[in-house]
Symmetry: C2
Subunit: 352 residues, 2 copies
């Protein structure tokens, strides 16, 4: 069994409900009908509660893309060849991918982590090389990773997120790249939610119907190999990916530091579900950026009892949906901090 | 009958489909699975088509809030007293309202137009005083405005939007303030869509169930006074508001100049529906920022065949939902312009 404390993780305390209540009182005093900012109000209150303040702010956010390959990719579960993981890492480092554009747009630093890419990634100032192995093992035949590898990945995720956040940073935008990783996420979801496999499997980067059927058959093989463990880390060992394990570690660590975690699409949400299974307090620090077009993401979000901010049919990964949602979080905090009160502005209140 | 050409309006040409097609080809060459940016791709293509370019950009956007009072407000159709229109204009000019915060957030100029506020609005560099009258007449008893007033409001809307856009500006964020104006919008929707009145009426700034019933009864009175005219300007005269007429004029003028129009909530969408009835080409220049929590907005958007970008339960008006969506439009254009191509980045294409 994996012991988080042994790996350097601190305990996660729940967001502070007294700041939540105080922030709601302030929201009700602002010059707008009660509740008229809709979900932006709940968002501002959530950030107040996690940061324990009535002056919430996003400071020095960093985007981190964890990249890794998957043994199961050799079984034809993706529309793109396995080489694309490494090629896209190169593209991230050259600045040409969607997440690069969005990170610049958000004025946010972007870091790329080689968690387990198959093949050499050339050194680069923005690349953090902590390759566990050149891709996981094929989980239809054997566990995807060993416990030692899982431990190493969890610890690396925690350490990297802590270091990249720096002394002042209080927000992470988390993304992933890994050909085949929606297959891994589908199995994790199946095990975590009990939802039948067919409803957990989607088109990933763009499989056609035959491809989806093949992916589902491959995943059924894996699910038949072993009864899915209850323990989230055992589950990671069986069906996970190195990027997913690092994401899980990054989230558990960030929540223990009371940082805001902007969650991206299906695979990052699968990591969030694992982290939440390990410690339910983690979820209070998550803001779910978007609902992706990947079949099953909506269902997984519902299972977690959370609502994403955006629903624009995106299915790109890389942290793109999370990065796109960051301006909404910043806007919610700006409204919270800068709007006038009824009293201050001399605006009449509601008629009895 | 009101003649747009006579009022100085130019014809609206449809967005250019050849630029739409060319932009879709470019989108398919970018380093992402086909269509993986979801609705951001359609958005970028729409802006290319309206701006007739493959280098789309939002330049010097301006937010304009049109404010006016409504005779029907004296019939108890709002949760807030009529004085709030004037008080909120003061709040806008003092910088304390939600739209002020969002305009600063978006680095966008904000202007406030007194289209027909009841009472004096003190002079201010950001206030444009073109008061038609101190609020419309009570449309349960007589037409809300005369044809001469409607003409003057349409022309003022066109002129103000053109002047505030300046020589380079190519985008408008449109908002409104007017106690009672969701009552006017509900009647306009009822007439434009044929949808039964009960489905067009909502809580506005926060009516309780009894208030909604009262509002609906008052509107039924108005609807019984006269069969709703087909002509959008006749309809404006019967049931409109001065701010709604100016919004309609602003939109028709902006579309003729090929500007992007970011539409806010229920009332601005009602104005868009009027403008679209006058010239169907107008809709191609509209981006619908959000779906508000005001009952009927979703239905009205569906009637227009359009999908809003955000759905966050906001119901504030002022242009707040449109302003919140502006970063999404900017991000879509940044992705379109800055992402690398498969060829340029040396990324492998999809497996056959």
């Amino acid at each position: 069994v994996i012991d988080l404390a042994e790996l350097g993780f601190d305990a996660i305390s729940a967001p502070d409900s007294s700041f939540h209540e105080a922030s709601c009182r302030r929201l009700d005093s602002l010059t707008k009908p009660l509740g008229a900012l809709g979900r932006l109000e709940a968002l501002a209150a959530q950030v107040c509660a996690m940061q324990r303040t009535l002056e919430p702010a996003i400071i020095d956010p960093v985007a981190i893309v964890f990249a890794a390959d998957h043994g199961v990719a050799d079984r034809g579960v993706s529309a793109y060849p396995r080489a694309v993981t490494r090629e896209m890492v190169k593209n991230f480092l050259a600045g040409g991918a969607a997440i690069n554009v969005l990170a610049r747009f958000d004025e946010m630093e972007l870091w790329v982590v080689d968690a387990g890419v198959d093949g050499e990634c050339a050194a680069h100032p923005r690349l953090i090389g902590v390759k566990i192995r050149a891709g996981t093992r094929d989980f239809t035949a054997e566990p995807a990773m060993t416990r030692a590898e899982c431990r190493a990945a969890l610890a690396a995720g925690r350490r990297i997120a802590a270091e990249l956040s720096g002394p002042r940073g209080n927000a992470l935008v988390l993304g992933e790249m890994g050909i085949g990783n929606t297959a891994s996420s589908a199995l994790l979801m199946h095990a975590l939610t009990g939802q039948e496999l067919a409803l957990c499997v989607g088109r990933g980067t763009g499989l056609d119907d035959a491809g989806v059927a093949r992916k589902q058959a491959v995943l059924a093989e894996a699910a038949a190999r072993i009864a899915p463990p209850e323990d989230p880390f055992e589950l990671l060992c069986e069906f996970g990916g190195y990027e997913i394990a690092m994401l899980t570690g990054a989230m558990l660590g960030a929540a223990s530091r009371r940082q805001l975690i902007l969650v991206d699409g299906f695979t990052v949400t699968a990591a969030a579900a694992l982290a939440a299974r390990a410690d339910a307090n983690m979820l209070g620090y998550c803001v779910f950026g978007h609902c992706s077009a990947e079949n099953a993401h909506r269902e997984l979000l519902q299972h977690l009892g959370v609502r994403p901010l955006l629903d624009l049919g995106m299915r790109l990964g890389e942290g793109s949906g999370a990065a796109l949602a960051l301006p909404l979080v910043r806007a919610a905090l700006a409204l919270f901090g800068q709007m006038a009160t009824f009293e201050g502005a001399g605006v009449s209140q509601k008629i009895a």
